[in-house]
């Protein structure tokens, strides 16, 4: 009973992380249209081929394809034919005037409904302000909403990285905050047991910082850069505010460890590094707050990029993102407590010898 009371959060951490891993690797991406060919339409009848991802079309299935803009259905597709499990062709009759030259496509079947923004363009039309529904496509009705991870333009399968990359930074900040608090505690009491926690927290925090950097670099290479070849040096790093912040943080804490190693006595190590830890942490937090307000970032939520909170983090992703954050944070604290015990044991061993 006592053991359960003491260790329940470790079991929770394991459960949450197993859930995160299973969910983020096993749940399929939602079906969507990836491309249309030709993507630029002319006035009059157009036959275009829509290529999908995970769509799994079947012969004889009811499929609605329509062109939309501003929540209005403008043109309904006719003569929809299934060419292969991931390909259909549809006919669209483009009128002389539409509300926009860049248009969205919606696809509906009995199994799912998908929306692809800015998939087709019609440059030869005139732009008017008529925003009434021009047609209604309601042959297909999705009966149930399947469990799937949203499929976003450009992100595609890499969206699964959300459950790993983002929680790494949250955990790192938590662990560095713990280190900061224990450095302050040390300076109030000059008790070395607080210094051990502050030091081990920096070690664990750096581990999470490197994991966050690695997952972020891989993610950036395959979404932000055009160099998707693994064996080039291009595309791994971009000049972005948040990347600069991450680099600064990592450098500060590596410097902290070097500072510790260049001092001699334990008390001096503890005192000087605690002073540096507090000084650097406060400045780092201020900079992380200030800098993103001065510059745009490629990250979601900055400079006109779609924010995760607004569009991308739908209810399915929330179902796994928040548990993932909590799970990684608990894992970080667990690792910290193990490192602390190990350091204490080491100290008693040295004392006995």
């Amino acid at each position: 009973m006592k053991a359960i009371k003491k260790h329940w959060w470790k079991a929770l951490a394991v459960l949450l992380l197993v859930y995160t891993l299973l969910f983020s690797f096993l749940v399929p991406l939602s079906p969507t249209i990836k491309s249309a060919s030709p993507s630029s339409l002319e006035i009059g009848d157009n036959r275009i081929v829509l290529t999908g991802y995970n769509t799994n079309f079947q012969e004889g299935e009811t499929i609605d394809a329509s062109i939309e803009f501003g929540k209005k259905t403008l043109i309904c597709g006719k003569n929809i034919k299934v060419l292969s499990p991931n390909m259909i062709s549809a006919e669209f009759n483009i009128p002389e005037a539409l509300p926009s030259k860049i248009l969205h496509v919606r696809l509906k079947t009995n199994r799912f409904s998908s929306f692809s923004p800015e998939l087709v363009k019609a440059y030869s039309i005139k732009v008017n302000n008529d925003t009434s529904n021009l047609c209604i496509a309601n042959n297909a009705m999705a009966t149930s909403t399947p469990l799937d991870i949203p499929n976003r333009l450009q992100l595609n399968e890499t969206i699964r990285n959300l459950m790993f990359h983002v929680p790494m930074w949250f955990t790192m900040m938590l662990i560095f905050t713990i280190s900061f608090v224990y450095s302050m505690k040390y300076l109030r009491t000059f008790d070395l047991k607080y210094d051990i926690i502050a030091r081990e927290a920096v070690n664990i925090g750096l581990l999470f910082a490197f994991l966050g950097l690695i997952t972020g670099m891989i993610w950036a290479k395959f979404t932000w850069s055009e160099h998707t070849d693994l064996f080039t040096t291009k595309g791994w790093w971009v000049n972005d505010v948040k990347l600069n912040g991450a680099a600064i943080t990592t450098l500060i804490y590596i410097a902290y460890l070097i500072l510790r190693n260049s001092l001699n006595s334990d008390q001096q190590k503890a005192k000087v590094s605690a002073v540096y830890n507090i000084f650097a942490f406060v400045l780092m937090i201020v900079f992380i707050m200030i800098l993103p307000r001065l510059q745009d970032s490629l990250h979601p939520g900055n400079g006109g990029n779609p924010a995760f909170g607004k569009y991308d983090l739908d209810s399915t992703l929330r179902m796994v993102f928040y548990p993932a954050v909590l799970g990684w944070m608990l894992l970080g604290v667990w690792m910290l407590s193990l490192k602390k015990r190990f350091a204490n044991l080491e100290n008693t061993l040295i004392d006995e010898l």
């Binding site: 600064i248 500060i252 001092l263 002073v275 540096y276 000084f279 650097a280 400045l283 201020v286 001065l294």
Partner: protein, 222 residues
């Protein structure tokens, strides 16, 4: 009492500087020779952005060199003597204040030397007073950070190496702000456009001084 001690200390540092002229002259020579070496490879820089970046890099390294000596010169006996006489908080404020004066002097000097050796055609529409403000504010935040970090680094054996490792990551953000601010001034920006830079840089300066004020007493107590 506090203020009186502070001014005593700053005056004491200034007197010391005047007595040991070799230190100030060595740092001035350092700046002039660095700029001269740069001028050999860039006789004139068309792009004001590169001109600006080179200027700030020279400032960063010359200030690191100048301020790294602020705790190095004092041997432990003299330090002990000082510590028994005055409050450590007065000591760090005095050092910061003195280094602010020194760095503003060095930065203005390097600006004139830099402008003398390396011309840029893009500097026609420079807002000179705003540029000076950017340079002064930026060098103040650099020098106050370096003063505190050099106090930390003076506790180790490998002083200068540790100083740059510890200070540069903390300096990157205020350096970025200063570079953007002076870029704005070079391109003829007005004070209204630079309000956020002025506010942020002043706040950072204030924060660094407050942090040093609070943390320094823990450093010297053996």
């Amino acid at each position: 009492m506090f203020i009186k001690n502070l001014f005593h200390l700053v005056r004491h540092e200034l007197k010391l500087e005047m007595k040991q002229k070799h230190f100030l002259s060595s740092i001035v020579l350092y700046i002039v020779s660095t700029i001269f070496v740069c001028s050999l490879s860039f006789t004139s820089i068309e792009d004001t952005k590169i001109w600006n970046a080179l200027f700030w890099i020279i400032i960063l390294f010359s200030l690191t060199n100048a301020i790294s000596k602020s705790f190095l010169n004092e041997n432990s006996d003299k330090q002990l003597f000082l510590y028994t006489l005055i409050n450590p908080r007065v000591l760090i404020l005095g050092k910061i204040l003195y280094n602010l004066v020194l760095s503003v002097f060095l930065v203005l000097l390097s600006f004139f030397v830099f402008n003398f050796f390396i011309q840029s055609d893009g500097l026609k529409d420079i807002n000179f007073s705003l540029f000076l403000l950017a340079v002064v504010l930026g060098s103040m935040s650099i020098s106050s950070t370096l003063t505190m970090v050099s106090a930390i680094a003076s506790k180790t054996n490998n002083n200068i190496g540790i100083l740059s490792i510890l200070a540069f990551p903390i300096l990157i953000p205020s350096l970025l702000l200063s570079i953007q601010f002076s870029n704005l001034a070079i391109n003829g920006g007005t004070a209204e456009m630079a309000t956020q830079f002025i506010v942020f840089l002043s706040l950072i300066n204030l924060l660094i001084i407050i942090l040093s004020f609070l943390l320094f007493p823990y450093l010297w107590r053996e």
